[in-house]
């Protein structure tokens, strides 16, 4: 009984410690997003107006580096830090409606706010605190999707 009670806080703190690397990686993500200015409404407008190569260069080089990394991980059977296999679950295509229709709706919001979900939070950190309202609206949007999900075509 006593050992059980004593062991519980240890596993809790162990779990909390496991989150630190994700927090640090998220911090680096916020720095990269703001320093590269892909969080900027100006950059997103410039992209959708085809008036600069900048965003296309960012996205294309990100995809190439991520793609090569995935191939290398698969080729050399790289494991996670704790030694388990790395498995990337495939995305079910289905009829595909959710992807192009959901994507189009997100695209409208991307051009309106100039930010996708990650940049929204990075912008709040950088001092654009009015984006808290956008985050609240985005949560409402996600909630509405969850509510109407059974009736939407996927």
């Amino acid at each position: 009984m006593t050992t059980l009670a004593a062991s519980r806080p240890t596993t809790e703190s162990h779990r909390a410690r496991g989150l630190v690397p994700y927090f640090l990686l998220g911090t680096w993500f916020g720095v990269v997003l703001t320093k590269s200015q892909v969080v900027s409404w100006f950059r997103i407008q410039e992209m959708f107006r085809f008036q600069s190569f900048y965003m296309y260069g960012v996205l294309a080089s990100a995809v190439v580096v991520a793609g090569i990394s995935i191939r290398l991980i698969q080729r050399y059977h790289v494991k996670t830090l704790d030694g388990t296999d790395i498995v990337i679950p495939p995305k079910a295509l289905g009829r595909g409606i959710r992807y192009w229709l959901g994507g189009t709706i997100f695209g409208l919001g991307w051009a309106f706010t100039g930010a996708c979900p990650g940049p929204l939070f990075a912008l709040i950190g950088s001092g654009v605190t009015a984006m808290i309202v956008t985050v609240a609206a985005a949560l409402a949007g996600t909630w509405l999707y969850g509510y109407y999900r059974p009736r939407l075509p996927h």
Binding site: G18, L19, Y22, L24, G26, W28, F29, G30, V31, L33, T34, K35, Q37, V38, W41, F42, R43, Q45, E46, F48, R49, Q51, S52, F53, V58, S61, A62, V63, V64, V65, A66, G67, L72, I73, I88, K91, A92, Y99, G103, T104, I105, F106, G107, G109, A111, F112, C116, P117, F121, A122, G125, T134, A137, A138, L139, G141, T142, W143, L144, G146
Partner: protein
Amino acid sequence: MVAFLSQPWPWYVAGPLLGLFVPALLILGNRQFGFSSNLRHLCAALAPGEVAFFKYDWKQSGVWNLAFLAGTVVGGFIGGRLLGDPAVPISARAHATLGALGIHDFSSLVPRELFSWSALATLRGSVLTITGGLFVGFGTAYAGGCTSGHGIAGLANLERASALAVLGFFAGGLIATHLLLPVLLR
């Protein structure tokens, strides 16, 4: 080094650094890079209601994601506030086009005349901030991913679903930019 840190980073630095989040998360714990799942986790944590989509153990599957999110806010403070110049060196053509649409303040990461607490009192500011957020939240949940999950991780893994989603991102963005914004900003 200090000079480099205080300047906006070029695309060929930013893009590869963003791409490396995919292997970093896989190696750290077999996690898939994708930010918008946080919105679902937050709904599940704050207001699951009676909605099946939010009835899952978010503490089990989503806590690492929320820790990443907390870091992103801190990183935004470091990169956007502590390190250097927030003015964005967009092309002269983009500057001219946006100027013609009535944007005058190019001094920070976002135009403050559209995205600030005072701008929320204006019609165009509130429409962009609030309906924009609704579209982002609804669309990413519907599509099952955003720029990170579909645009980077999904395309890198040659997912047809992600290619469809990214075509959608651009269709929506082009419609909003070329058809809706000229009306809204007038």
